[in-house]
Point group: C2
Chain length 189, copies 2
DNA sequence: TAAAAACTATACCGTTCGGTATACATATTG
DNA sequence: CAATATGTATACCGAACGGTATAGTTTTTA
């Protein structure tokens, strides 16, 4: 592996394990087997490293989600596909997803606030579009797009966070059904 | 104000604004108008300071939530009261609540992981108890207590986070109705 | 009132922080 | 092949990190 990719990979793991502020550049360089000036050569700064990492690794996430969230006339299927997608993404990219979860509420003072907020809003926007497109078939959703997007992704993420903490257990394939069913039909059915 | 309280207050604000790892002890001491040994006199360590802060400030949150979440035969009212409670808490203690939100997914490697996870689980446990108590009147909730607790609080928190990011707008009193209605009845009504 | 406890400070510790200057090595280009 | 571009290193910078030793001050207690 080339140094650039190696540094990105190591940084992802360290940031995901400890958070952006708790990981130093020297640690990343050491673990990647290079020196700091080498790291700075590629990324210019710690912030640059993090931003590069987030941009490059979120791109496939966003483009895949764009495909998955495309409304095709069946809202149940779309919501199920989206929910399934996130769990599969967690299984496929556990490290990066943990990092994403960790940045859900980042202080605006952080020098990487903009990039993480951007990735978040991209996700929410795609889900919102799903609900917008579904409005033709489900008029009651009118005006609630953002709310539903926030509610759906917020719920998925909280389930995942709580399962990572051992508070709940997500067993295949119950997890998807459970979330989707409750999201769509509430708690009385 | 005595130094101890002053330090706690300043620390809360700084941690809420920047996160635990991005705030140094020297900064807290300076802003509180004391020196580091004074701070260490009261709290022994940075971790001790944070833990004291979380414990003392979460206690009223937990005990108030315990009152509010007590099921009294009307599940709609309980869920509404809980939701209302969180928004009121946000209005009453915006700084500490931001800090709580920021710790929703903390790396297990953090030396304050235990204390923040404990406060979280306390909240979820209280909500879970609410759904357990409601099971007598709503048998369909059986076995779903944890899921509903996670879903409700996760949704509330995500709404709040996204409103703090300017993604959605929470206007009195729509916000409570919206969340409660969707949580209870789903997206088709 | 003297001793003990609680409180507060100055100065210091070794390590780490993000970043930089300079030099050297390797690969590419004309 | 020499010059340029790209890549990698050693050594260094000032500031900040969490924490500590020691001394002084104030309050409390017997």
């Amino acid at each position: 592996m080339d140094n650039r990719s190696n540094i990105l990979q190591v940084a992802t793991e360290l940031f995901a394990s400890h958070g952006y502020d708790a990981v130093g550049v020297q640690q990343i360089a050491s673990d990647a087997g290079v020196t700091k000036p080498t790291l700075y050569h590629y990324f210019n700064s710690k912030q640059g490293l993090f931003e590069t990492l987030i941009k490059e690794k979120s791109e496939p996430l966003i483009s895949d989600l764009r495909e998955v969230s495309r409304y095709q006339g069946d809202i149940t299927k779309s919501i199920t596909d989206v929910t399934q997608f996130y769990f599969e993404y967690l299984d496929r990219e556990p490290t990066f997803y943990r990092l994403i979860l960790m940045t859900r509420f980042m202080p605006p003072s952080s020098d990487v606030y903009d990039i993480v907020t951007q990735v978040q809003h991209q996700q929410f926007d795609l889900l919102q579009q799903l609900f917008k497109d579904a409005t033709e078939d489900h008029g009651n959703m009118r005006g609630r797009h953002r709310w539903y997007a926030v509610s759906l992704l917020g719920t998925i993420d909280t389930y995942i966070v709580m399962s990572l903490q051992g508070y709940i257990h997500l067993n295949e394939p119950h997890r998807v059904y459970r979330i989707v069913h409750q999201f769509m039909h509430g708690i009385f059915s």
